[in-house]
Amino acid sequence: MATSIRPETLEGTAREAIASACASVSDPGEADRVDGLAPGVVARPADTDQVAELLRAAAAHDLTVVPRGRGTKLSWGLPPTGADVLLDVSGLDQVLDHAAGDLIAVTQAGARLADLQEVVARGGQCLALDETVPGSSVGGTLATNTSGPRRVATGTARDLLIGVTVVRADGVVAKAGGRVVKNVAGYDLGKLVIGSLGTLGVITEAVFRLHPVPEARRWVSVPVADPAAAQVAVQSVLHSQAVPGAIEVEWGPSGGRVHVLLEGRPDGVAGRTESVCSLLGDSSAETEEVPAYPWDVTAAGDDRSTALKLTFALSGLAKVLEVVHVTGVRLRGSAGAGVAYAAVAPGTPPDEVRSVVDALREACAGVGGTLVVVDAPAAVKAAVDVWGPVPALDLMRRVKDQFDPDHRLAPGRFVGGI
């Protein structure tokens, strides 16, 4: 067992209550820190009922709870103001059903996204959600709303999640949606929990719509000399008949590239690859996979880059890239969807990071978008406005107050101190 890292781990009746709710309870180790904060106890429930029991026990003892999937993105957002219980759902790791004929899959939230993909791949299908952080759980992927290149064609978690089971802060288990893609009965709670960083409830089960695995996939890549050229390339593919599966842009101190993914039947992909190549000019060529995201997702603490998520109207790409170029950060993202990720190198003084964030945020806002600091070393998070301006914040607070009136779940991690 790991030695405790917290001067006062959870003890006494509160600990007993947690232990009686859930068979697997342990003292936190170094790897259990939540963005630096040591939790009081780590509880690893085995099923939805135990998650509910745990949350009821936490409520009875007025304990704060931070849900964790596989712990790959636990430092995202702001550090929570409390983490009496680290609720680890990795024990809920079963892919429960793959109904290939219905193109759906049912999985527990603690299952790895990769495990789910492996199961459904046996039936020639996939969840059309890229794994941008290796090792992520399904629940964590939903809670952080990560997505990758393929969002251009198949959207993001909100377009693929069709049913969800959530345990509320008071331990009530609720389901919304179901096992069918088409369903407008009742409110779509899945949309609310996606991207909520565990602040509304604990996701324990999810139902997804699936897509057939394309028979062929090819990437075409072209160097772009300046931001304007990048935008011209992206726009030309968007308005073509190439049916791109992804349009990625990559930008660094020495310039950029645009990458286009073509997926489908071999003959069709071959034809469309050819048309995209001729569209993008002589310097375009087929490539293998596109390069990685500009930060090392396995880095922790002060070794982390400051990871930024930028959004913009599609025609605002050049304006954003111009500022990216000036600030010298590296960027990669879905130019075809209006989303990109940038990184400020580890060790950059917080003041410098702040001016980069401010400049980029202004550029994004100028073209209808936003900038969020996804993750950063503690000193940077303290120095910058992590979330930026959030419209409708008052309504968001009201939603939080209804779901979690005592602010027990991941307090302070989300927008506006939610």
Binding site: L238, G268, A313, W387, M396
Partner: protein, 493 residues
Amino acid sequence: MDEAVAAVAAVEAVTRRARELLPADAVVTDRARLRTYECDGLAHYRVTPALVVLPRDAAQLAGVVRACAEHQVPYVARGAGTGLSGGALPHAEGVLVVTSQMRAITDMRPEDQRAVVEPGVINLDVTRAATPHGYYYAPDPSSQQICSIGGNVAENSGGAHCLKYGFTTNHVVGADFVTPQGETVALGGIAPDSPGYDLLGAVVGSEGTLGIVTSATVRLVRLPEEVRTVLVGFESTDHAGAATSAIIAAGIVPAAIEMMDALAIEAAEAAVHCNYPEGAGAVLVIELDGAAVEVEQEYAEVERLCHENGSFEQRLATDPVDRALIWKGRKSAFAAVGRISPDYIVQDGVIPRTALPEVLKAIADLSGDSGVRVANVFHAGDGNLHPLVLFDDSVDGAGEAAEKVSGAILDLCIEHGGSITGEHGVGMDKSKYMPRMYNDDDLDTMQLVRCAFDPDNISNPGKVFPTPRLCGEVPGRKKGAPPLQEAGLAEVF
């Protein structure tokens, strides 16, 4: 009695305010005119509203909602009034807010693949405006020539092509939204993934119970290079169902796969002379779209799979007129049933696609046992059934018998892991079925959202949920929030 008097006085106060805010002809109090708004597309529920307003812009609309909030008068939003679940059924002591006069396409931005539209804009008009730029608006309910975007947003409308392209919720990326307190807030925007909770995702499909959208930013989709529409005749729905499954199993995602059974075909023939294959026990309308080479290949495969599953006739539309005629038969099917039956219930349920043969058999048994005829029209690709339950209201007990069969069909859907509504919404009509699909905790949790948006329960009350939840006091103390933040004097991000 006192309550009734107070309600009348409250509506009068809202009426006075509306007259200050809106042009004279946009405030309707005349009994005869009020009655023209007494129902939506589900005409057997009728309630005359106390007041109808037709705001010309978002400011007028928000002003009326603020007055409603101030005087605690319930209001119901209505678009074109084509809804099939009574979602826009007025409240007798409330205001009907009709958005049909807000019908400007305020921005067309093909370079961003977006359009910004007011709620009264007709669905098809978005596509018409986008087509010259090479784009269209994908969600296409059968009523797309008359239904409005505001209603589509409220109901999360689908359509034949949502099999491939998704529903309204997948195509609305931003909205100006008037809360039940009359505040205007921006949800989402032209760029994706706004920070914070996805409130827009909760609002779309909430059937007007969370507030009113006064402007929607929608995705535009590139017009496909090639479209192929084929009409395929089968002996039976079993054969047509097997062909559907085979197509999906082959990894093909057609833009649409629609099925009609013999009775539905008979009705459509009588109404619009669509000239479907003679003697067919079922037809499929299959549409493939995308890049030309792939459509060509997929079409060859679809042709083969249909043939292997017993099709006896395949008719490929060779021009837009042909294609329109094929779709006309399908899209007019609901109304066409009026030709073969004086009255009918349009049902809307969903089942996993693979349960199709079993459920169709069970529906046939229900029909046989009860003597109530059922015509089947449905989006076979995604398992969204629209059984049309036929009856003659002039016959004693016929309406009740039809209602019973209709309800039993929903039970079948739920038993098979499906839904009580795929696209028509819960509205007034199906709130009583909600507890069959969701338990008390599920419904209670959904209503937490309602309590957050509309604690006074004035925005389209009585819809969706069978029993309203008491919202109670919003707790004052929040753990860890410093006093300045608590008092709203400082925001911490």
